[in-house]
Amino acid sequence: MTAITSIFLQYIRQQLRDKYSIFWNLAFPLLLLTFLALVFGGQQQPEITFQISLIPRDESLQDSALLDAAHYDSALSVTPQQVTAMRDSDQQETVLHTLHNIALQNDILQETALQNTADAALKKTAQQDDILQGTVLQGTTFQNAVLQETALLNTAWQNVALEEASFQDNTLSKAAQNDSARQDTVLTGPASENSFFTAGEYPEVNPAAGEMQEEKQGINPPASITPGFPGIQDLSYAAVLDDLFIGIEASEDSRWFKFHRLPEGVSAEDFLESEKTRLEQGERHLLLVIPEGTLAGPDVIELYHRSESQLSRIAADVITSILIEVNRELNIASGSLDRSELLASSTAQIELSTRQAERAGFSMAEYLVPGIILFTFLLSGLDIMVSRISSLRARGILRRYFATPLRPIQYFAGIIGYIIVLSLIQVILIYGWSVFFFNINLDIFDLRFIGYLLFGLIISLSFGFLVLGLVKSKESVGIITSAIIYPLAFLGGIFFPVTEIPGFIRFIVLINPVTYLTNGMRDLLGIYPSTTSPILNILVPAAWLVVGLIVSALSFKWNPGGEG
């Protein structure tokens, strides 16, 4: 047996006998992969449903609203049975269709983290756009969870900020501005009805409940509502909204929502109180207090949510967006606005160079696999190899080795052989695991990819030698490797995209060879276009390799602190 094989076998034995190394080196990457894929990939059926309570401002309204449904103008009236037929029909003006517009085109739903498993219709629509759009929907990226939440909240906040800051002529924002309490919270504030009515333009609307019937007959349409849509002012908001929610319940998106309605024999007031308690306890995400008025004039719909609950905020956001669209549709329905007057718009993404752009979409697991492989390489080169060598070095064993005719090259060949075998096992495990559990479809046996993989492993080993060369004491070596691995991994885009990190951290992202390696790996697998040029993906890691080799060649010592 040659010296190389005996050293190699020694390390393999050590690995197999230490159950903790087996955990950290083999099981941990799989756990990490599974965890991240589950969190961000949404492989599970979502078990989140927005619990929304619909509360009439007065219970007497509910019956009348339902009754009214029979008298809807056809353009606005939809029964659950009609929903399916309507989806592909020409009835563009229906409120229901608005909802579908919202669900399919508007980003609100797409933004929610729940979208990871958004249904096939959503996926299809999005995939038509662009590969990357498809990616978003399949929840392939970090965006769909954590960062996305940031974006979402950001949006929600911007929504309000926009409403507050820029929509000066909007009655709602006027009402909001009149109420100083509103400025206290990000999303909300109890804008009082009073402020609305003082700022309101339709003093003839009587908010008192119970006088509904009279009002319906007695109120003149506001000047701005043109009579081009006869009968609309007779519709109650309650009826329109009821229709909307029934439509949602009948639609493909119904599983996102569960609407709770006023049970029989309960007063609206009591219902509101009990639902508020449920909201506090987290059993509801949103309460809607449905106005009693008719379309003859504006009315206020109150949304109760819990701002510290994320789902509650998302629910509020979704419903807000739907209601804004409803408003627009009502304008169109009333004839005060023609669809042609609206600006046409589209969203698209610019082209970036990607080598296998034909690939349509990928799953979170597919996005993660190259990253996790690279992460295990970092562990192998920076943690396993470094700690093995430094531990022998600190105990003087290495020096003892070299008191025999063993040549350094033989020793390194032995340990690197062990690292390569370990890495190979890791790659096979990760790949097998994700094929089995996440059904991935990646061509990791592509020769170019394998070559690049090897390149990545070499870079990681050179980092290891860099640390061994620069840091002498065993204790510090352990610390320094941890201090390097995590920033390299997290700021190298291994687990989620980091292109947008602000400030000085961005500098780390830019000089981090892992950034380029992950980009290169994903690009080669065709699952995510590289944000950096292919040349840089080779050059930057290679530069680190050169630095690592030079520095460690100059400063590596067999027996730091000792003589010789």
């Binding site: 954590v146 911007q158 909300t188 009315d299 109760y304 510290e308 201090a483 989620f496 995209p497």
Partner: protein, 371 residues
């Protein structure tokens, strides 16, 4: 088994406390894993969660095509009134694309004949939904202005219960709840290992035996060792608070009367978990490794870096068995990130504390100082 020795002796307590604290804080590994590593993660995740959350406006590159029917004033007025947007006109579509590609612009808007086409950088997956939302807002507002739409349904959004915590900030909640989580993590790293160290490591190295041969009061030694970890928790929490303020401009309305005791209680609770590990392991090495693995698992499943809300429900259920979940939540309440739910808070903290103390006492009773 302790007999009269278990009741602490103040002089010995303070002498032990001094030594053990020094021993703890002088250790480079401690300093690194209890303080620097959380700080590194704070910076990494803080940066991630605060991306674009720092109030810097998103830039819209506007390209007016030859067929543009909207006049520049209309669009710029809308954008100017939105404090989170800024704009820049570009002379060609390609110029806009370049800006987009190089992250110098966030949205490219091509103005055509009564239409607006928005373009985004596909790489910015995490931002595009928000940016597309912005685009939709621009559209909506332009529609409102150009057509004089009616506002039929007026939205009033009310919060239940009134949110008394952070005010007037646009900081995402993820960023906000990161810091209490990190402080809880600091408590975990400083508390989890100590019981293993005491009853496995010190025993294996014969330190306990030598102490046992002196008239040392064991109670004061145990209490000193337990309290010697509190400066670690305290320092790491101060570091997190300082970093949150200096680096991310986030400050908290901390209930200090609860904060300090909670640091102590939380650290003791983590020691209880360490006691459990001590009970089920036989050597210091396996104890430390098990603690390490448990800590790693807790980092993932306690909602510190990653929101557990997004986990499948069986993982969410698993997280209810991890004390760190409760510590992170309790810390959030104390730091005003979420409202204090006194009853539940007391119940959770109280029962965890009692279980932990029981576990520590069981381990202390079971362990030998003389082997």
């Amino acid at each position: 088994m302790f007999g009269e020795k278990f009741y602490p002796d103040l002089k010995q307590y303070f002498a032990n406390l001094k030594i053990l604290t020094l021993s703890f804080l002088r250790d480079r590994q401690t300093v690194f894993f209890v303080m620097l590593l959380p700080l590194i993660f704070l910076i990494i995740f803080g940066s991630l969660y605060s991306q674009n959350g720092q109030g810097q406006a998103n830039l819209v590159a506007i390209y007016y095509s030859e067929t543009a029917s909207l006049n520049p004033g209309e669009i710029s007025a809308v954008i100017e009134e939105n404090s989170s947007l800024a704009y820049q006109e570009v002379a060609s579509f390609e110029e806009g694309e370049d800006l987009l590609r190089n992250y110098q612009a966030d949205i490219l808007l091509e103005v055509g004949d009564n239409r607006l086409d928005y373009y985004f950088n596909p790489v910015r997956l995490q931002d595009n939904p928000a940016l597309e939302q912005q685009a939709a807002l621009i559209n909506r507002e332009l529609d409102v202005r150009r057509t004089g739409m009616e506002e039929y349904l007026q939205l009033e959004i009310r919060d239940i219960p009134p949110d008394s915590s952070q005010t007037g900030t646009a900081v995402p909640s993820r960023l906000f709840s990161l810091f209490p989580g990190l402080i809880a993590l600091g408590m975990a790293s400083s508390g989890l290992f100590v019981i293993v160290e005491l009853f496995h490591y010190f025993r294996e190295r014969g330190v306990l035996k030598r102490l046992g041969a002196s008239p040392l009061n064991r109670g004061s030694f145990i209490f000193a060792l337990v309290s010697s970890r509190l400066p670690g928790s305290l320092l790491s929490s101060l570091l997190v608070l300082l970093a949150s303020r200096l680096l991310f401009g986030v400050s908290f309305e901390i209930n200090w009367l609860l904060f300090i005791p909670y640091l102590i209680i939380g650290t003791v609770i983590m020691m209880g978990l360490g006691a459990l590990i001590t009970l089920v392991t036989t050597t210091a090495d396996s104890g430390f490794q098990a603690a390490n693995i448990l800590l790693t698992v807790m980092i993932f499943f306690s909602g510190i870096y990653f929101p557990i809300e997004f986990l499948p429900s069986y993982f969410q259920r698993a997280s209810t068995f991890l004390p760190l979940t409760y510590l992170a939540r309790g810390m959030q309440q104390i730091m005003g990130v979420s409202p204090l739910e006194t009853g539940q808070f007391l119940l959770e903290t109280g029962s965890l504390l009692i279980i932990s103390l029981l576990l520590i006492i069981i381990v202390a009773k079971k362990s030998s100082w003389t082997d």
